[in-house]
C-alpha cells in the first residue's frame, strides 16, 4: 500500500466516526459539509474530521481510495457510508442513529 493510502486509512481509523469535509465543523465551507456536521452533532456522536481544502493530495487520494467523487464523505467503523444526501436520508429513517450505536 502506498504512503498516501496509508495516511488516509490512518485518518479514517482514527475515530469510529470520521468525516472528510470542506472546512471544519466550526466553520464548514460548503452547505453539504455543514449539513452532515449538523446531523452528526444532532445524534450526539463524537467524530473527527479532516479539511480536504487544506491538502490537495489527500483530497485527490480519498476520491481514488473510496472510488467516490464528491465530498463530504462520512466513514463509520472504517467504512464509507456516503455523502450529504445519504446521511440525511439515513438520519430521517433512523438508520444512521442505529449504525452509530453499533
Amino acid at each position: 500500500m502506498n504512503q498516501l493510502n496509508e495516511k488516509i486509512e490512518n485518518l479514517i481509523n482514527s475515530s469510529k466516526v470520521f468525516l472528510f469535509m470542506k472546512g471544519t465543523p466550526e466553520m464548514p465551507q460548503c452547505g453539504f459539509s455543514a449539513n452532515v456536521c449538523a446531523i452528526l452533532k444532532a445524534t450526539g456522536a463524537d467524530f473527527k474530521s479532516f479539511d480536504i481544502l487544506s491538502d490537495s493530495e489527500i483530497r485527490q487520494g480519498v476520491k481514488e481510495y473510496s472510488n467516490w467523487p464528491t465530498f463530504p464523505q462520512l466513514y463509520v467503523n472504517g467504512e464509507l457510508i456516503g455523502g450529504s444526501d445519504i446521511v440525511s436520508e439515513m438520519y430521517n429513517s433512523g438508520d444512521l442513529q442505529e449504525l452509530l450505536k453499533s
Partner: protein
C-alpha cells in the same frame, strides 16, 4: 444538461426504472435525480447511488458533482 438524455441512459441499464429529474437551482446544473427500481432491492444506499453514478459517469463522460440522488426500491 439534457434531462431526456439522462433518463435514457438510466432506462437503458435499468428498464424498470421510474425516473424523475428536478432542477434544484433553476440553472440546470444542480440536478435532483430520483429513481425507483427493483434493482435496488437489498442493496445499501451507497451501493444504490453508486449504480446511478456509474451510469451517469459512463454516459456523460464527466464526473457529476452537483447532483442529488434519491433511490427507492419498488
Amino acid at each position: 444538461m439534457d434531462f431526456e438524455k439522462i433518463k435514457k441512459l438510466i432506462i437503458d441499464k435499468m428498464p424498470d426504472a421510474e425516473i424523475e429529474i428536478t432542477d434544484l437551482t433553476g440553472t440546470r446544473d444542480h440536478l435532483g435525480i430520483s429513481v425507483i427500481s427493483k434493482e435496488f432491492k437489498g442493496k445499501p444506499l451507497l451501493a444504490q447511488h453508486r449504480m446511478i453514478m456509474n451510469i451517469l459517469k459512463e454516459g456523460l463522460q464527466t464526473e457529476i458533482h452537483a447532483v442529488e440522488i434519491k433511490t427507492q426500491t419498488k
